[in-house]
């Protein structure tokens, strides 16, 4: 509104000056024309002068008149030039002032827009200098107050989030470590007891106890490996390969113990980190095996669709509840009695890192199907 008022004022004032100038120019043109018509010399020359004194007086008169006419003529020209120049300068100056005022008015708004963008992108540390017009100062002050509050809230949230993550992690770690420790402790206690009461008969329970301890230590090692794998997902080292060949190779070791059916398109090629591909497939497959009952086969299907390779792993297990489906890719979320909840989180993380998509659909008592969509070559 303020800008429009200034622009209107500028147009009216400049327009007025231009009109005034035109009127002046027209009047001066009239004077100029009239001046041109004023002629004295020829008439005076034609008058007979009776004495040299008369001639001298006439000559002086003619000289004065012509000189005055010349001076007026030049003064008129000068004034016409000057009014035009002054008008031009006034217009240039007014326009410059107008542009400066507009810039000064719009600058804080631009600053505010930029700062709002920063806030939108999550940078709450942005603060505006509280300068300019009083309204703008007030606005900037309010904005700064808001950004400071947001920054404080963000800091508190970050602290709380970190604390929560550490708590969760500690809880899970404690739980997962405690589970294998109990059988180990029990096995050792049994061995101690037997050693005190009947050392000769220790051989009877030794193999079983050692087996329990070894098994639980292996569980602890796997647990450590899961955490380590999740933590060290780095930049994928992608390469071009045939996924069907890789799937056959990976599945070979599982086929001896589990029933797995393969339906693989052989002519597909994908670009993916091979190690990541192995981790994705084994984690999903392990999940399917854990969920399946014996005698119910797991289906692995690979096919091409448009420019993508689609990998489906389907089991006929117990299925996942709808409310849990949304959380299965979250770290430490698990419904299994033995599990860190990191397997599927790792799958998601690896797929994201390789520019692929992982989806899941499930029906209770019918089974679960994981689909990995990978861009083909």
């Amino acid at each position: 509104m303020r800008t429009q008022i200034i622009a209107l004022f500028l147009i009216v004032s400049i327009g007025g000056l231009v009109i005034l100038n035109n009127v002046f120019q027209a009047k001066q043109e009239n004077i100029h024309s009239a001046l041109k018509g004023m002629e004295l010399s020829s008439q005076l020359r034609d008058i007979r002068h009776y004495s040299s004194e008369d001639s001298l007086q006439a000559e002086a008169l003619m000289r004065d008149f012509n000189e005055a006419k010349a001076v007026v003529n030049i003064a008129l020209s000068d004034s016409r030039v000057m009014t035009s120049v002054v008008l031009l300068l006034v217009i240039v100056l007014s326009t410059t002032v107008f542009i400066i005022v507009i810039c000064r008015l719009s600058k804080p708004l631009r600053e505010l827009k930029h700062a709002t963008d920063q806030i939108r992108q999550g940078n709450f540390s942005v603060h505006l200098p509280e300068t300019g017009l009083p309204e703008m100062r007030e606005l900037k002050s309010s904005f700064n107050m808001m950004s400071r509050e947001l920054e404080a809230i963000q800091t508190r949230l970050l602290v709380a989030e970190k604390e929560m993550i550490w708590k969760d992690l500690s809880r899970i770690l404690a739980h997962e470590i405690k589970n294998p420790l109990t059988p180990i402790q029990l096995a050792i206690q049994r061995l101690e007891e037997r050693l005190e009461t009947n050392p000769e008969a220790i051989k009877e329970i030794l193999p079983e106890s050692v087996s329990i301890i070894t098994q639980e230590i292996e569980n602890l090692r796997l647990l450590a490996q899961d955490f380590s794998n999740y933590a060290k997902v780095n930049q994928p080292n992608t390469e071009e390969f045939n996924p069907a060949l890789s799937i056959r190779e990976i599945v070979k070791s599982y086929c001896q113990d589990y029933q797995i059916e393969l339906d693989l398109a052989e002519d597909l090629k994908i670009r993916f980190d091979k190690t990541h591909f192995y981790q994705v497939l084994t984690n999903i497959l392990q999940n399917a095996i854990d969920a399946s009952e014996s005698g119910k086969p797991i289906m692995i299907r690979l096919y091409g669709e448009k420019s993508y390779a689609v990998l489906c792993i389907k089991d006929q297990g117990i299925g996942i509840e709808r409310k849990d489906l949304q959380r299965i890719f979250e770290p430490y979320f698990s419904k299994k009695s033995k599990g860190t909840g990191l397997g599927l989180a790792l799958v998601k993380k690896l797929c994201d890192a390789n520019g692929s998509i992982v989806r899941v659909k499930s029906e209770i008592d019918k089974g679960t199907e994981f689909t990995v969509i990978i861009e083909g070559v």
Binding site: N21, Q25, N66, K69, A75, S84, V85, L88, L89
Partner: protein
């Protein structure tokens, strides 16, 4: 240098404002046909002034006060000024006789006529001679015309006649090879 730049800026501003806001005709002087002749001892420079004296000048000449047109001649060899001179063409008028007199510096020509048109025709051309130094070879001749500030005695008024040229100083330059006389 700053003076020349300043006068160019002023001429530009005046021209623009005249174009936009004024019905003032004035004169738009232009220097054309700049040429030179090379004799054994003199270098002659000639040219024509177009649209320089058509408007307002007859009235100014008729004032009786001598009115001059000044030509500043500059000869450069490379970046060095080797010669510099100013020449005046002065018009005087005697109201008692109605005779105009034009005195041209440079060649020392003198014209008399009762017709201002005749005088303006003669005034519109110039031809100066300056001593030719044997060392001059390839030179650049530059000439610029201007009008002086004139004092009108009877009115006791001083006026800058450049306003009649809208503060524009017409100029021209030419390259001359003086190694062989023409």
């Amino acid at each position: 240098m700053f003076e020349a730049f300043g006068s160019r800026v002023l001429a530009g501003v005046v021209s623009l404002s005249m174009l936009l806001f004024s019905s003032f005709k004035g004169n738009d002087p232009k220097m054309t046909n700049l040429g030179y002749r090379n004799s054994d001892s003199f270098l002659y420079v000639s040219g024509i002034m177009e649209n320089a004296f058509d408007n307002d000048f007859p009235t100014i000449f008729a004032s009786g006060t001598p009115i001059s047109v000044i030509y500043d001649l500059e000869i450069r060899q490379g970046n060095r000024i080797v010669a510099k001179n100013s020449f005046r063409h002065t018009v005087s008028y005697n109201p008692a006789t109605g005779i105009y007199e034009l005195r041209k510096d440079g060649r020392g020509d003198l014209f008399r006529s009762d017709s201002v048109q005749d005088i303006m025709r003669h005034l519109s051309s110039f031809d100066f001679g300056i001593p030719h130094q044997p060392s001059w070879a390839q030179v650049q001749i530059r000439i610029e015309a201007r009008l002086p500030v004139v004092h009108f005695d009877t009115m006791n008024k001083e006026v800058d006649l450049m306003v009649l040229w809208k503060y524009k100083k017409p100029s021209a330059r030419i390259h001359a090879d003086l190694r062989t006389p023409e």
